[in-house]
Amino acid sequence: MKPLSIVAALGTALLLTAAGAPARADYPDKPIEMIVAFAPGGGTDVAARSIARYMEKYLGPGARIGVVNKPGAGGEIGWTSVAQGKADGYTIGFINAPAINALVVEGKTKFKMSDFQPVANLVYDPGVLVVPKNSPYSSLKDLVDAAKKASGAVVIGTSGASGSSEHIALLNFQRLADTKFTPAFFGGTAPVRQAVLGGHVPAATMNLSEALQIAREGTIKVIGVMSAERSSYLPDAPTFREGGYDVVVGASRGIAAPKGIPADVIAKLEKAIDQALKDPEYLDAAKKAEIPLQYLASSDFKTFLDRASTDLQATWKATPWK
């Protein structure tokens, strides 16, 4: 190609894209950007890349979803770019409640929860409280009694940082139990699991999916699950509610879009996600990996997010975590 013809081709290409307003009947007619607010290889990233392949299948022939990682600031950078994205259905992203709600409640973000249009929730992974197998504590009550005897003497390791969903769960727990625990922030799941297995901390919080395997092996004991009902993956583990403390906290992963995207586009995405989650091949992989899938359609997902925000506001008022 001669230089001139390259310029001409470029010019035409630019004109074409500028002129072609998105015809919604053909949605999607160009690649959809799926923003992940965490680095490649993380749990959310792998979930996104997996579901993206199956969503493409059900969005129609030729549909393409590109996963774009925008990690940093505990997810805030990526979520900001979802909130500020164009509301045409070509920018969607994964949001992780209640971490995202917590950031908004702290009041430093450039976005509000109302800047997002919830599309569908995919995963709900309840929090758990675990102790080493030879621990003197065998129930929540034991732990609370010990903490009441010497306030702050019971250390609980958490995989998150200050303000993470686990930390907030702990704050709620100690408020309801009227005592005080000392949180130790390990900043990652691997180190906290190692610490509780090695008996370096007397107790720890993490998500159910992260505790499942070692709990089944019996090397740690799950003394409380932070969900409304017992988990089918670990039916022997009691819930916090059964112990008399109404703590329901979990990490969720769902897909949202910038607010104002056309209703028919939401419907299309919603349907594709629902179908993808029912795809036998995907379902098989998810079951094997014991991913706690929980599909919520757009309206239910919105209710769920609203509830998380209200709860967090109440906690923030009583015990600000930062």
């Binding site: 940082a161 922030f185 090695g198 070692i214 094997k288």
Partner: protein, 505 residues
């Protein structure tokens, strides 16, 4: 176990699975040698594609990619002073100097062979020693990690260079940069100046790339050499063979492999630490430590061997307990899960053929790496050096730019790269050593956070820091390493005459 290994053999050597290992190796070499792309990125893209495939095929690709990627990082480190992965930074120190001395091919061969030896020993320890190593790794809590960090920092005394205060400053710069970002235990934002991009601190890969890759670009421009390296200098047979010098390298290999394996099985110690600590140790015990950093092949051998030994070892706690020993192991763990392979002791009972097959794949890919890497690295990558040097400057810059951008998808990081690069250039011209910066950067955050965790758990009692045998051992070792040079100096005081005016040598 022998039974399981024998059963796994036909699986491992099935033609399709050998193909998988080759694909993984080559993909790993590519992502490894490009700065900003890591094995983690490669695996993240790969895993969803393996959903419907046979587990052994998928695992073969993963094993290949892990081993290929760790050597891939050494290639640009040696040829262009661009650390392809954070773990290859220690390789830069001597590898690039060897290239400048016209020993590029030899340096690549030393790196490859050392990496292979490290991975082989690591794979063997994965197959044979998993249970005892797992219980050893569980003995490490915050107290032990704290002392491990101190031990690492103590070995820095051997890297401080000829000018003590400058070495200390360099270390301090690394420690300070490591302190940038949000304090996870109370949310305090340290030195972020309201910048969202700094909340998680600087990305290590961005800093290290800027520190090591940008200054030589400026130097190439200054020198403006318009010719390339002659093809002759890239031929190996003129430069000696690392294989025939195995006696010379064996002590380095053994020490580095042990260090790599120990760091590998500890989830709280970052992966890139192993190559650095191995390098430190090699320099510390060397008869002529002053030759390190000036093109000593032992430096390359130690770094790459430690790096290779980290790989399979980081899977030991991952397979046995579900606790990944490194970022890559974490992703591999995710990959195992989608194939229904749930880590833990029962994995060895329920799927012994697959587990031992996977371990064997690690071993096999280590050997395959010797072939693929040996053929590809010098014959293909090395030829880049035949380009006129001045043309290499923009080429390095292009790859570094796109790589750094893609780490966080952020333009901010490009400016960090530029800033750090310029500071790096000044530091270099004023003889501030770069190695202590890296060590400060890697170890500082670990020392601070683990110390605070240890004190939180003990309720503020400092005596708890010396309450376990491992902690005491590590503390004594650190003290010994710190005091050894002082002791030597005191003993040799008066023996060597002090030469005044040595500056004008």
């Amino acid at each position: 176990m022998i039974d399981a290994l024998l059963h796994a053999l036909p699986l491992v050597f099935a033609p399709m699975n050998i193909l998988a290992m080759f694909i993984g190796l080559i993909a790993g070499l590519i992502v490894g040698c490009l700065p900003g792309l890591t094995v983690v990125t490669g695996l993240a893209v790969l895993i969803p594609l393996t959903f419907g495939l046979d587990p052994m095929f998928a695992l073969g690709m993963m094993a290949g990619m892990y081993n290929g990627g760790s050597y891939g990082g050494a290639i640009p480190a040696i040829l262009m002073r661009v650390p392809g992965t954070p773990a290859s930074v220690a390789t830069v120190l001597d590898g690039y100097k060897m290239t400048q001395k016209g020993q590029a091919a030899y340096a690549l061969q030393v790196a490859l062979l050392s990496g292979v030896i490290g991975s082989v020993l690591s794979s063997i320890s994965l197959i044979l020693l998993s249970p005892p190593l797992v219980s050893f790794s569980l003995m490490f809590g915050p107290i032990e990690y704290f002392w491990l960090g101190i031990l690492g920092l103590a070995t820095v005394s051997s890297l401080l260079g000829d000018d003590l205060p400058k070495g200390l400053i360099a270390c301090g710069i690394g420690l300070l940069i490591g302190a940038v970002g949000q304090d996870i235990s109370n949310g305090t934002e340290r030195f972020t100046f309201g910048q969202l991009d700094l909340l998680d601190g600087f990305s290590a890969i961005v800093l290290l790339t800027g520190l090591f890759a940008v200054p030589p670009v400026l130097q190439i421009i200054e020198e403006a050499v318009k010719t390339g390296m002659s093809g002759d200098k890239l031929k190996l047979h003129r430069q000696g063979s690392a294989l025939s010098q195995w006696r010379f390298f064996t002590p380095v290999w053994i020490r580095s492999s042990i260090i790599g394996i120990i760091i590998g099985i500890l989830p709280g110690a970052g992966g890139s630490m192993s190559s650095f600590l191995a390098y430190n140790e090699a320099k510390r015990v060397a008869r002529h430590p002053e030759t390190f950093g000036h093109g000593n092949p032992e430096g390359v051998a130690a770094s790459e061997c430690g790096n290779g030994a980290d790989n399979a070892a980081s899977l030991i706690p991952a397979l046995a307990l579900g606790i990944p020993g490194s970022g890559v192991a974490a992703v591999i763990l995710g990959g195992l899960l989608v194939h229904g392979l749930r880590p833990g002791p029962q994995l060895f009972r329920e799927h012994p053929d697959i587990v031992y097959g996977f371990m064997l794949q690690f071993l096999v890919t280590s050997f395959l790496l010797a072939i693929v890497g040996g053929l590809a690295a010098t014959r293909i990558f090395g030829q880049v050096l035949r380009l006129p040097r001045i043309v290499l400057a923009p080429v390095i810059l292009l790859f570094v730019t796109v790589g750094v951008y893609s780490v966080n998808n952020s333009l901010f990081d490009l400016w960090v790269l530029l800033g750090v690069g310029l500071i790096g250039y000044v530091l270099e011209r004023l003889d501030y050593p770069s190695a202590p910066i890296v060590l400060g950067l890697l170890l500082g955050p670990m020392i601070e956070s683990q110390l605070r965790l240890a004190l939180t758990i003990s309720g503020g009692k400092t005596t708890a820091l010396l309450s376990t045998p491992i902690a005491v051992t590590l503390a004594l070792l650190s003290a010994a390493i710190l005091l050894a040079p002082a002791w030597r100096m005191w003993r040799e005081r008066g023996k060597t005459p002090v030469i005044e005016g040595a500056e004008s040598r």
